[in-house]
């Protein structure tokens, strides 16, 4: 042993022997190839990025560098007359700047409950948006729950069933929401129902996929036990699978609820009503105070919902929550 290591691994003056230097050479060669590949892929990425940016700039109505000074002008001019104006816009209080124009007319949109008590318009719209998100999350999660068991390999032997259910989920997930919303708006006229159905369809697809992955990863021993006792398929699902997967299902659903609040805001801007539409109008008409009021309301409500659902998820399944954020985001 000693002679081999002496003769092969180290030369006379601390240099590498023939075998070791061969290894070293191989290592260097591999490193070089790897570095060349890395460099090539970075260069390719940069070229694609450069051309994509150029493409985007050419396709845009305003060119980036031409518009940049206007951008800062826009920010500078987009300042409310006083900080209190934001507060007044938020709670529909009369403005001292009122000149009869829509810009300062905050009181017109109040939703009166009694003669004196009213709900400020933006808060009313925010409540609509959040309710759209909640309703579509509940319905979507319920339907995804019913579907997911038919898509998992460990519960359904028939490949055809699994294939069909999975493809249905994929199409539901990828189908553009605005098309469903647009079609229903044309049929049912403008209102929250179009938004609810559009978001529900997407939710079924997205949650269905996450759900059946959880089901496939569940422990099959309880199922075997029930099968040995002669339980039917429904009983096996109910008593062996559901108790295991329910915490994960609930936490996914909470995550989806967060995402759906954002989605319902966006769908609202495209014609579903709610705070999204009010926001689009406010920023399009240069109503600075209203815009900031809505941004603050949205920011606060999204942060509250995120924190609340993160807290609930932590209570349900502990620190796994990070893992679950992946697919759904």
């Amino acid at each position: 042993m000693a002679t081999i290591s002496e003769s092969n691994n180290s030369g006379p003056r601390g240099e590498l022997g023939p075998a070791a230097s061969m290894v070293m050479q191989h290592y260097r060669q591999q490193l070089r190839t790897r570095r060349i590949y890395t460099a090539i892929s970075i260069v390719v990425f940069l070229i694609v990025l450069f051309y994509s940016l150029q493409f985007a700039n050419d396709a845009n109505a305003g060119k980036f560098f031409e518009r940049l000074p206007y951008f800062f002008d826009f920010i500078r001019s987009f300042v409310p007359d006083s900080p209190m104006e934001i507060f007044r816009a938020m709670f529909d209080l009369p403005s001292p700047y009122a000149d009869g124009s829509l810009k300062y007319n905050y009181t017109a949109d109040r939703h009166y409950i009694t003669d004196t008590l009213y709900i400020p318009n933006f808060i009313y719209q925010l409540v609509i948006t959040i309710n759209i998100a909640l309703v579509s999350t509940i319905i979507g999660a319920a339907l995804a729950f019913l579907l997911c068991f038919f898509a998992s390999t460990n519960l359904v032997g028939a490949g055809a069933t699994r294939f069909v259910v999975r493809r249905i989920m994929e199409v539901m997930r990828a189908f553009p929401e605005i098309v469903i919303a647009g079609l229903l708006t044309a049929i049912l006229s403008i209102g929250p129902i179009a938004a609810i159905i559009a978001i529900t369809v997407h939710t079924i697809g997205a949650l269905g996929k996450l759900f059946f992955e959880v089901v496939e990863n569940s422990d099959m021993k309880p199922d075997e036990g029930l099968r040995a006792a002669g339980a039917s398929w429904v009983e096996r699902v109910r008593f062996a699978i559901v108790p295991q997967v329910l915490p994960n299902f609930v936490s996914y659903t909470l995550l989806r609820a967060e995402i759906n609040v954002r989605a319902s805001t966006i769908i609202g801007a495209v014609g579903g009503g709610g705070i999204g539409e009010v926001f689009r109008l406010a920023i399009g008409r240069d109503h600075a105070a209203k815009t900031y009021a809505i941004i603050i309301l949205l920011l606060v409500s999204i942060i509250i919902i995120d924190q609340f659902s993160a807290w609930l998820r932590r209570r349900l399944i502990g620190h796994q929550s990070f893992e679950f954020g992946r697919g759904a985001a």
Binding site: S52, I266, I283
Partner: protein, 451 residues
Amino acid sequence: MISSVPSINASDRERLRAAHPEVFHRSFLKRYGLLVGSGIVTLYLVVCFFAFNVGPAFMNGQWDRASLYIQDWYSWRAQPRLRFEDNGTVRAQWSSRGQYAQGAEIFWLKPTATGGYTVTYGSDDDRLEVNPSRVDVYVNGTAYPVTITEDAATAPANAPSAIQQDGNKVLVHYGFEGQAEIRTSQVYIQRRFLGWANFLFDTKSDFWGKSWSQLISLATVGERLDPARSNISHMVDDFLGNNVWQHADILWKLMQTLVMAFVGTLLGTIFAFPLAFIAARNITLNRAANWGMKRLFDFLRSVDMLIWALFFTRSFGPGPIPGIAAIFFTDAGALGKVYAEAVENVDDKQREGVKSVGASPVIVNRFGIVPQVLPVFISQSLYFWESNTRSATVIGAVGAGGIGLKLLEAMGTNADWDKVAYMVLLILFVVFLFDNVSNAIRSRLIGGPTH
């Protein structure tokens, strides 16, 4: 017979009850929680049902239109108006979306010797004989003459349910094949066919009306229709320049949407990468810097993508730049948060090893952390890229341009549902393609299961 049900005596029962109180004395919440929860959820849904006026909205919905729109997805309508001229003839007038070239021979619309037209719906048993003073409606081979005077078109008394009198006009329904509206001055025909009309070439193209075999032979061996260019490039030009379907424009807009998602996610990744190291508590030992960076991420993430999109559309004008900016801002926040968590969960031994041989902090991070977290980072970015391809469509509709705006325009006319279907198919195809590509990359990186 010996009972197979195991029985226990009273003392055993007491012992079990005492040994496992959590099984036999469950709290109220555990026993009835699910029931109460589903009750509350059902109540909430019922309240929402009435608050959102779901019932009336569905009752007042225009469901007849709905079936029309849905049919438009996979079929097309030819809509000529057969006008009664003063000189005793009938003239066919086409809408602006004329699907037939000038003077083309149409198999279901044939002029008669007397100056009228014969319109067939599927078979010869179902047809209209349009003459200036009289329209003979054939339903299942039986003729029902509709008389036309100055004031009204009148259906015969024995007409079947397919022929309906509506005021001074007569409506004829032939199911999917189409319908006709007989008025005093014209007959408004709607004739429906499966498929998309003129999808490849519009009526102005030299290739219009040619069959597949003719097109293939033209493309491969046929003589040049235009001596200046080959038939294939001629076909490509005519296909992209199709005035009705606007292939070039739609593909261009789709490209914009894809660029938005790609560049936005890539910039977000590049931006979030270094900042995640500042936000991670185990790398940067400055609590204020950690906290500030995490709140920055929270802010970027929580301001909705919609807000960023509208904000930048307002300042840069419609187009991909606002879309890129919106996706970049939201993703920088979301990715930064996820990256920072990944860095905080890193295995510390590798860092210590690199540190122990006296490496500088940059080298410690480069060789102690990056190799561990890079696969996670890349797979996260791929997930975001996938979902951004979808959300870029919606962002586009808000004003950032791209295929989303094109979709919204097509839906706004209520007549272009076939084009909507075409764009939806393109989007579905692209999303599936990207899903598979990113799944393949991800499973090579981290070797997980693929679906």
